[in-house]
Subunit: 228 residues, 2 copies
C-alpha cells in the first residue's frame, strides 16, 4: 500500500491536511504504508491516475483519491481492523465534521497560512502555487498575509463549538479517537508543517486534545517539526 503525500523543500515534512487524515486512519487500522513524497507539480504525472490533488492511496492495483473516499474505502476493505467510525452514526458524524471544518476552519486557516505555505514549497512549485492560489484568493499572497491576524481571528472564533465539545470528553469521538478526530488533527498538522503561527492557547480544550493526538501511534504526528 502506498500513500502519495505532498511535501515542500523538506521531503520529510508532508503538510497536506487531507493526507494527515488518511495517514492517521491507516495507523488506526494498523496498516503499513509506504509514503511517496511529491511536490504539487508532480501530482498530475502519476501514471494511470486522474487526480490533481493528494491524498492518493494505491492498493491492490487501484488508486483511491479524496480523503473521505479513502476513509470509507479503508473501513469497507478492512472491516476486521479497528473501526474508523464505530458504526453508521459515527460515519454520519465524521461526514458532517468533514464539511463543517472545511467550511468554517479550512478557509480562514488557508488565508492565514498562504504565504507561509509558499515559503515552505520546493522552488519548482512556486509559480504554480502563486498563480492558482492568488486567483482563488482574489489578491496576492503578500496582500493576504497582511491580513493574517484577521484570518487567524476568524479561524479561532470558529473553534468555539469544537472546544465546547471537548470540555466533557477527551476526543471528538468520545473516550477514544476515531476518524472524526483525524479530520480535525489534519488541520493542525498542516499549520504546524508550514508556519510558526500559534493557533491555540494552553487553557483551551483543543490544546490538550492536540497533545493527546500527538501521542497516538508512537507519536506519529510528531514527525512534523514546528517551523520557526
Amino acid at each position: 500500500m502506498k500513500l502519495y503525500d505532498l511535501v515542500g523543500k523538506d521531503k520529510t515534512q508532508g503538510f497536506s491536511p487531507n493526507v494527515w487524515r488518511v495517514r492517521m486512519a491507516l495507523a488506526h487500522k494498523g496498516l503499513e504504508v509506504e509514503m511517496v513524497p511529491l511536490i504539487f507539480t508532480e501530482i498530475p504525472n502519476i501514471e494511470g491516475v486522474e487526480a490533481k490533488t493528494v491524498p492518493i492511496l494505491e492498493h491492490d492495483g487501484k488508486y483511491i483519491t479524496d480523503s473521505w473516499h479513502i476513509a470509507c474505502y479503508l473501513e469497507e476493505t478492512f472491516p476486521e481492523k479497528p473501526s474508523l467510525f464505530g458504526g453508521d452514526e459515527g460515519k454520519a458524524y465524521a461526514h458532517f465534521i468533514h464539511f463543517s471544518s472545511s467550511y468554517n476552519l479550512t478557509t480562514p486557516l488557508f488565508q492565514a497560512l498562504a504565504l507561509d505555505i509558499f515559503h515552505a514549497l520546493d522552488e519548482r512549485d512556486r509559480d504554480y502555487f502563486r498563480e492558482t492560489r492568488e486567483k482563488r484568493l482574489g489578491k496576492t499572497l503578500e496582500e493576504t498575509a497582511e491580513h493574517q491576524a484577521e484570518s487567524l481571528a476568524a479561524f479561532v472564533k470558529q473553534l468555539w463549538p469544537y472546544n465546547q465539545t471537548l470540555k466533557t470528553q477527551d476526543f471528538f469521538n468520545g473516550d477514544s479517537p476515531a476518524y472524526v478526530d483525524y479530520t480535525m488533527y489534519g488541520l493542525f498538522q498542516w499549520a504546524k508543517g508550514v508556519s510558526p503561527l500559534k493557533l491555540l492557547s494552553e487553557d483551551e480544550p483543543l490544546y490538550a486534545w492536540r497533545g493527546r493526538m500527538d501521542d497516538l501511534f508512537d507519536g506519529l504526528g510528531k514527525v512534523i517539526k514546528v517551523r520557526s
Copy 2:
C-alpha cells in the same frame, strides 16, 4: 411525565426550539407526555424548580432541565426504548451539533426572528422580553428587525455543511432520524411558530429533510401552523 413548554398568545403553538428537541425525543422513545404551556414570566414560578428557561421535564418526582441533559436522562432512564443516539459515537455527534448549531445558526436566526417573536407573545411577556433581549442584542427589537435580511443571510450561509451532509443521506443521523435531527428540527419549528420568514428554498436538501421530519410520529411537528 410532564413537559413544560413555552407559548405566546396561542397556547397550542409551543415555539421553543429546545422544547421541540425534547418533544421529538419523547416521541422517538414512544413515551407519553403531558404538555404544560407556560408564558416566559410564568416559568420562574414553578414550585420546586430553579430554572428560568424551558424545557423542564417532570418525571418520577424529579425536574430535569436543559434539552441536552433531558436527552441524556431519557437515554439512560429508558435504555429499552429506541435509542436517541445509537451509541457513544452518535452521542458525541449530537453533542457537537448541539454546540455548532447553537453557535452558527441560533444566533443569526434569533436576530432575524426577534421582533416576530415579540409580536407572537402573550401581552404579559412583552415588557420582560423587550428588556432582556434588547440588552442582549445591544439594540432595540425594531432596529434588529431592520437588519432582518442580513441576519437571515448569515443563517442561510451557515447552512452549507448541513446541506452538504444531507446530499447523500436522508437524515443527519444517516438512514433514520435520531436526536441529532431533532436538534436541528427544533430551529425550524421555532421559526415556523413565530414568523412567515422563508428559511429554505425547495431545491436544497434541508427542505426535503424538513418535510421528512414533519411526517414523523404521525405528523407531530405539523401541530405548528405557518404564521402569516
